[in-house]
């Protein structure tokens, strides 16, 4: 299958001389949800802006749906919807007019039924006659999404769509994203909320300092890099560990009521069986066992820290 968005060695150096993208290559498949994670200033917005035509790339190429974004910019851009990170809206226009304008700007014939559907999906229908400056921040963000969806894009870029958005709206948005995915729309979103990537993405890309550190299936990534912890709840609290358990790196938690054991799921032996046997031999009674997997957040923080250490070295 060919990628719907094909980014090849994309570089961007801003006028001041700052290199925000240091050669990013990325293939995004039709219909997938890709989450881009990265610390502030990593280059996420720059990457999206370069694809959408807001920033001129210094070198490299991008095609969308097989259309080069420079030579066939019309065909490429007609496929793209963009929800920017910052809220930029014409303050005096009503919601309805600004959304209709976006549709027209992208060369689509007027279709009020579609626009109505979009506004209803985003719970904006009641606000359609309100001027955008009269809306709350969360509603403004929804208007931006409505504008991006007004022209039925095949590829949707969401640059931190849930920044400053309450829990309810965030769930609404995830639902919307699910619906769009079901309709075959490819979605690229950036976020600082790891749980967001974890909840909705198919693949996760990590960017730091203008470089794509990795792109991987979310599940594979979690399995590969995930560390699991086993928490052993004890019948009677302990304050010190018997010597026979010294080699496990156990941590006493919850004021001695439980022990925590971290292990690598990819390791040949997890050591759990032996640990449990040793615990029994040491006379510690177990009440309950619980395992948990490390989140993307931990993986991500680890990756970026590794990267920084490399740079420092």
């Amino acid at each position: 299958m060919t990628a719907i968005v094909d980014i090849r060695d994309l570089k961007k150096t801003y006028d001041g001389g700052f290199q925000a993208l240091k050669g990013v290559s990325l293939q995004i498949e039709q219909g997938e949800i890709l989450a881009l994670l990265g610390p502030n200033g990593a280059g996420k917005t720059t990457l999206i802006s370069a694809i959408c035509g807001i920033v001129t790339p210094s070198s490299g190429s991008v095609s969308v749906g097989g259309h080069d974004i420079v030579t066939e910019f019309r065909a490429a851009r007609a496929m793209i919807g963009l929800v920017p990170q910052e809220i930029h809206l014409e303050p005096f226009e009503t919601v309805w007019r600004t959304v209709r304008y976006s549709r027209g700007l992208f060369g689509c014939k007027r279709d009020d039924t579609h626009l109505e559907q979009v506004l209803r999906d985003l719970s904006l229908w009641d606000k359609r006659h309100a001027r955008t400056m009269e809306l709350s921040g969360g509603m403004k963000r929804r208007v931006l999404i409505a504008k991006a969806l007004s022209h039925e894009p095949r590829v949707l870029f969401l640059d931190e769509p849930t920044a400053g958005v309450d829990v309810e709206l965030r769930r609404d948005m995830w639902k919307l994203v699910e619906g769009l995915r079901a309709a075959g729309v490819t979605i690229i979103l950036t976020t600082h909320y790891i749980e967001e990537a974890e909840a909705i993405a198919d693949r996760v890309g990590v960017i730091a300092k203008g470089e794509l550190l990795l792109v991987e299936e979310k599940d594979a990534l979690m399995a590969r890099m995930g560390r699991k912890t086993l928490e052993i709840e004890l019948q009677d609290p302990v304050t010190v560990l018997p010597d026979s358990l010294a080699g496990y790196g156990l941590e006493i938690v919850r004021e001695g009521a439980a022990l925590r054991y971290a292990y690598d799921t990819q390791a040949e032996r997890t050591g759990i069986t032996k640990l449990l046997a040793d615990l029994a031999a040491a006379g510690l009674q177990m009440r309950d066992l619980q395992t948990s997997q490390s989140s993307l957040e931990e993986i991500f923080v680890g990756l970026v820290a590794e990267r920084n250490a490399e740079d420092a070295a």
Binding site: G53, I80, P84, H88, E90, R100, Y101, R103, G104, G107
Partner: protein
């Protein structure tokens, strides 16, 4: 051509105008009336006629030009500066439109507004003086061309400007003096010879002269040269706009 996009831009820009219609309408009417009171009445009693035309009528073309030029500039420069200022320009840059479509949308709307105001002034003038137009088609052609070329120029200023002060700077510092010194309220033949020569370097003089010729059949310079001047000005502005969009100067980082 993405006609739908062009129409969308044009419509939104015109909406801005209609939202403030009363304002857009009343201020030129009042200022025109004031000009007639001040120039027409006060000076007109001293200068009876200019080349066979009553002074009151003589200043009408200049007055229209003055307003149309400043209106074109301010409408067009604000029209493109505003999205830059509030950030909504991202949408234009990401849309499947080329520079010509954007320019036609913005400049077309700005020129339409200026044209409308120009006609309002013409109508207002008719209350004060007796106006006959010898070459109505030429009059309209000059008016439209002036609206378009100055809107283009305003568009460039709007892209160039980094703040509101700069937005006002060129119109205030360059254009207004050129318009006043371009023979809006007098014939340059009334000036001493040195100033007549200097006036020949003022591009606005050619426009006003040509426009006045369309009214009264009298001109400071041959009407062909006036046409050439305005065509040249339009071409230069168009070239600049094309270059701006090709390089992304001040709009695309």
């Amino acid at each position: 051509m993405n006609l739908t996009a062009m129409a969308a831009i044009y419509r939104v820009e015109m909406m801005r105008f209609f939202r403030t219609l009363a304002q857009s309408f009343i201020s030129p009417v009042i200022s025109t009336s004031l000009y007639f009171v001040v120039f027409g009445t006060a000076i007109g009693t001293r200068i009876d006629q200019v080349e066979g035309v009553s002074y009151g009528a003589f200043i009408v073309p200049g007055l229209i030009m003055l307003t149309v030029m400043t209106q074109s500039l301010s409408n067009a420069s604000f029209g493109i500066y505003f999205p830059k200022f509030i950030g909504t320009i991202f949408e234009l840059l990401s849309a499947p439109v080329n520079f010509l479509e954007i320019v036609i949308g913005f400049v077309g709307a700005a020129a339409t507004k200026a044209l409308f105001i120009g006609l309002v002034i013409l109508a207002t003038s008719a209350f004060f003086v007796d106006i006959r137009i010898q070459h109505p088609f030429a009059m309209i052609a000059f008016l439209v061309l002036t609206c378009v070329s100055f809107s283009l120029f305003g568009f460039i200023i709007g892209i160039w400007a980094k703040n509101f002060e700069q937005l006002q700077l060129i119109p205030l510092l360059v254009v207004t003096p050129l318009v006043f010194l371009g023979g809006s309220f007098y014939s340059i033949t009334m000036l001493p010879p040195v100033w007549q020569t200097i006036s020949l370097f003022n591009p606005v003089m050619y426009l006003i002269s040509g426009f006045r010729w369309a009214f009264f059949g009298l001109a400071d310079v041959p009407v062909g040269i006036s046409l050439l001047a305005i065509a040249g000005f339009t071409a230069i502005c168009l070239g600049l706009v094309w270059w701006i969009f090709r390089t992304g100067w001040r709009i695309r980082s």
